[in-house]
Amino acid sequence: MIVADRKSLKEILAMVEDDKKILIAGCKGCVTVCNTGGLKEVEILASSMKIARKKQGNDIDIDINVLERQCDTEYVAGIKDTVEDYDSVISLACGVGPQFLSEMYKDQTFYPGVNTTFFGGATEHGVWEERCAGCGTCGIHNFGGLCPIARCAKSLMNGPCGGSSNGVCEVNKDIECIWDSIVRKKMDAGKIEDLMGVKGIKNWKTARDGGPRKSIREELVQGNI
């Protein structure tokens, strides 16, 4: 899923400091799963903002709405009758949400209430970790099922670098050296030969380097499925 962290209350308050009536739009997709932009988080943000503004002697009127998904025009269209009633809208969806909203409602201002961080999953309750870089050409099977593009700080195809120490990355002690894990997995399995030779140079055209990407499924476009 897409993982996001909520922006600080201070930063969000500064975005809407001149506004008197706003909407906070949550999303029932990934940000609900990672406890950043679902109903609960939308309610908490709304309450926190109201209290803060009241303290400033500058009350704010806040409505909330949690969309089914903000990355789908069908659901984004669901707020068309009310969206212009607000001075601005804070979206707690990933970076896709406020863009879909901005594209559909050109006269409204949408603020991102979260920082979208990575594609990953929960490794324990309350902890999410990056797993995928969305490079467009998946080859994790070549690395024992572990992705060095997303998980090595240098995206090395032929690691580990000379900074790997005790299974930890040179960048900081909280980062696992994924190449250490790849190598140990192969060695434990008696498959060191899988790591011999030079892994070829990557084609980054399928990653963001080829420009913004689009995925077209003809059968769906044509309405056959």
């Binding site: 240098k154 580990p160 000379g162 790997s164 040179e170 960048v171 050296c177 030079v198």
Partner: protein
């Protein structure tokens, strides 16, 4: 070993079977050519080639290409370092051609320390290709006369290809295989990370020799003379991939502060003596960090002068 690949002085020295002795010089944090030339002059005639570092520890300095050319002007032979952190494949190939055109004949292919260590930690890194792929790219340019896209190169760059090896990084058991991969990729010579843990290095070289890697590539052992116990502590804590045994720190601390540099040099000299006899070691890479003026004395006392003229 055989026909020369680049004809660099370093290659000729190694090819003739001499024990190589290379030095290192960091370019200035600015365009202070006078200071750079002063540092280089200490090394003149004392080493076979000098590594010109490429924004080492991710700190911005004068480009290694410019520094290498200034070195040639001073009559020394550069080993042009190139890291994968700061350039994509276009910039790399372009700089390799430029380097060759300007008279550079050795290069060292590196991943590069992560930018968070340096003075621009907010920078975006590149890592379009990695050090292993860089080695193979330079080999392809040199031996096949082709760019990565298989287009012909009009006058290919004939580089003597170097790579780094850190026997002290983890997983240790894999390090010799990684070295084998670098050699297969096209490394002609290896310069190791600074060696302080001699027991581990002896074990590593035994594995290298057992696999016959020393017969496919020249291995230069990395030596850094410690200026004092404080430097040992600093390197141990802040330089990635360093293995500094407590015994060395204790040895440095066992003498008066004013004598610690001499103790550090003595340890380095003992290392050089051992490397001269160690099977598989073809030379020493002396990294006297910001201590270039001590290299003549170290070289003299190490008995590696005069340098061979081949």
């Amino acid at each position: 070993m055989s026909e020369l690949k680049s004809g660099s002085n370093l290659e000729k020295v190694l090819n003739a079977g001499h024990f190589a002795f290379t030095g290192e010089c960091g370019p200035p944090k600015g365009a202070n050519v006078t200071h750079l030339k002063e540092k280089l002059n200490h090394l003149k005639g004392k080493v076979d080639a000098v590594n010109m570092t490429d924004n080492q520890t991710a700190v911005v300095r004068m480009s290694s290409l410019a520094g290498s050319v200034l070195m040639i002007e001073e009559g020394l032979e550069p080993n042009f370092q190139m890291v994968c952190r700061d350039r994509n494949r276009l910039a790399m190939m372009s700089d390799i051609l430029g380097a060759y055109a300007l008279g550079i004949r050795n290069m060292l292919c590196l991943s590069g320390d992560h930018q968070t260590f340096g003075n621009h930690p907010d920078a975006k890194n590149v890592h379009d290709i990695d050090s292993m792929q860089l080695i193979s790219m330079v080999k392809k340019m040199r031996d096949e006369g082709k760019f990565l896209n298989d287009e012909d190169i009009d006058v290919p760059p004939k580089m003597f290809i170097g790579a780094a090896c850190n026997p002290f990084a983890d997983p240790y058991e894999y390090r010799v295989y990684r070295l084998a991969n670098k050699i297969e990729a096209g490394a002609d010579f290896i310069q190791t990370q600074c060696i302080f843990n001699m027991d581990k290095f002896r074990d590593f070289m035994k594995k290298v020799v057992d696999m016959g890697l020393h017969e496919k590539c020249y291995i230069l052992a990395g030596v850094t003379p410690m200026k004092n116990a404080g430097m040992a502590n600093f390197m141990s804590k802040f330089v990635p991939g360093m293995d500094i045994p407590d015994s060395l720190v204790k040895r440095l601390k066992s003498v008066d502060k004013k004598d610690q540099s001499e103790e550090g040099i003595k340890f380095a000299l003992e290392q050089v003596e051992e490397f001269k006899e160690m099977e598989g070691v073809a030379g020493v890479h002396m990294m006297a960090i910001e201590w270039e003026h001590m290299v003549p004395e170290i070289a003299e006392r190490a008995g590696v002068l005069p340098r061979p003229v081949v």
